[in-house]
């Protein structure tokens, strides 16, 4: 799965922590383990992390270690059986952002990494229901503050919502024959706004 090398959200998504169990000792990784400061007094001085250590690691490190089978990756709790059941039962009610702001991106990486088809299917199923709600929200909130509507959406869903909302607002503006106005540039309006509030 190709991801955007320069995509900030993709980078942030890979910062999400997953639970790893080391299948081997690895030298010079004690810094990853908050409880390992004790080990650093180890006479061997190689700051090793011990086999069977259980540590939360960001996805970008876990991916590299898992590919070489140096760790076992446990699914985060939002992909546990119980959470999956909750989401399947009522997909539109769940606050995915609270579960994980990058729910889909993390899910995609994890399902590939751990060859877990159940997670991949869950993502399709969840999105298959939720996007309809997002569509309704994005077409019914002209001139409204939308923050409370997007509360339950993960980052990817929020982007989708905003895309729909922007297009709908633009169309409504056109219907009202207001879209022909030449507008000041964004940098100018932002500056003005700020100086009036200061």
């Amino acid at each position: 799965l190709l991801m955007g090398y320069y995509d900030i959200d993709d980078i942030l998504a890979e910062q999400e922590a997953v639970h790893c169990t080391f299948r081997t000792d690895i030298i010079k990784l004690a810094h990853l383990d908050p409880s390992a400061i004790v080990h650093s007094k180890d006479p061997s001085h190689d700051n090793r992390i011990k086999k069977d250590s259980k540590i939360d690691l960001p996805l970008w490190i876990a991916m590299h270690l898992k590919k070489r089978k140096f760790v076992i990756v446990d699914n985060p709790k939002f992909f546990s059986h119980r959470y999956r059941q909750t989401l399947t039962a009522d997909p539109t009610v769940v606050n995915l952002y609270d579960w994980c702001p990058f729910f889909y991106q993390v899910g995609l990486r994890l399902s590939e990494l751990t060859q877990n088809i159940a997670i991949a299917e869950l993502l399709t199923k969840s999105f298959g229901e939720r996007y309809k709600t997002i569509m309704d929200l994005s077409q019914n909130s002209v001139e409204e503050d939308t923050a409370h509507l997007t509360r339950k959406l993960d980052v990817m869903e929020r982007k989708l919502f905003n895309a729909g909302l922007t297009a709908d607002r633009e169309f409504q503006l056109w219907l009202k024959r207001k879209s022909k106005q030449i507008e000041p540039s964004h940098s100018v309006t932002r500056k003005r706004k700020r100086s009036t509030t200061q």
């Binding site: 190709l2 991801m3 955007g4 090398y5 320069y6």
Partner: protein, 217 residues
């Protein structure tokens, strides 16, 4: 029929403008295609050049009208209006392409085929743009890294931005094209006939677009 250009093609076959009328229709279509296509499309060199020449001539003509007398100032405005519309079309077309060139500059420049899609000015722009962005990346970061980590074009790391050919597009079918292959494994096909409008993944229709059998809306 979904007609986007709306230029009356039936009239005026007699004067030298006949050519440019077709070119305007072509540019309207090319503009929409370019706006909605994830990758860069071949540059409509002849149409752009022709239209630009006509604009220069027409501007001269319009100025003459303005000089003539006051009554003709209205005529001057009418001609100016058409001119500003055509200039908008040109500007917007060139603008969309420039943005796309900037976004995929490395990807475009390393492919002979894609380089060939650029106009002469665009190619010069792309080369120069690549140079200034690489200089900037080098000066603000890369040149201060260990030698082995100074590369910016490692395809295995996904460092070269490429167009997403899996992007979905709205595709209008100009002539029957039979059944097209959406994927090989498992095989999946869809028939597309004249006059249909389909939202579809870009990659399977990219060839049809270049052959002008379909256009993007």
């Amino acid at each position: 029929c979904v007609c986007v250009c709306g230029v009356d093609m039936s009239s005026d076959e007699d004067d030298e403008g006949g050519d440019v009328v077709e070119h305007i229709a072509l540019l309207n279509q090319a503009w929409l295609n370019e706006k909605n296509c994830p990758e860069i499309l071949p540059y409509e060199n002849e149409a752009v050049n022709n239209l630009q020449e006509q604009i220069v001539q027409q501007e001269e003509l319009a100025r003459e009208h303005a000089r003539d007398n006051v009554k003709n100032y209205f005529l001057y405005n009418v001609y100016q209006m058409e001119l500003s519309r055509l200039k908008y079309l040109l500007r917007s077309y060139l603008r969309v392409r420039l943005k796309k060139i900037e976004k995929f500059v490395v990807h475009i420049l390393k492919s002979e085929r894609l380089r060939g899609y650029l106009g002469q000015n665009e190619l010069v722009y792309a080369e120069e743009y690549k140079k200034i962005t690489e200089t900037h990346l080098a000066e603000s970061c890369l040149s201060r890294l260990p030698d082995a980590f100074q590369k910016t074009d490692d395809p295995s790391e996904g460092m070269v931005p490429e167009p997403n050919l899996n992007h979905h597009v709205f595709c209008y079918v100009h002539e029957d094209v039979g059944t097209i292959q959406l994927r090989d494994d498992p095989p999946q096909t869809v028939p597309l006939s004249k006059g249909e409008l389909a939202m579809i993944r870009y990659e399977p229709v990219s060839g049809l677009l270049r052959n002008k059998k379909v256009s993007l809306l």
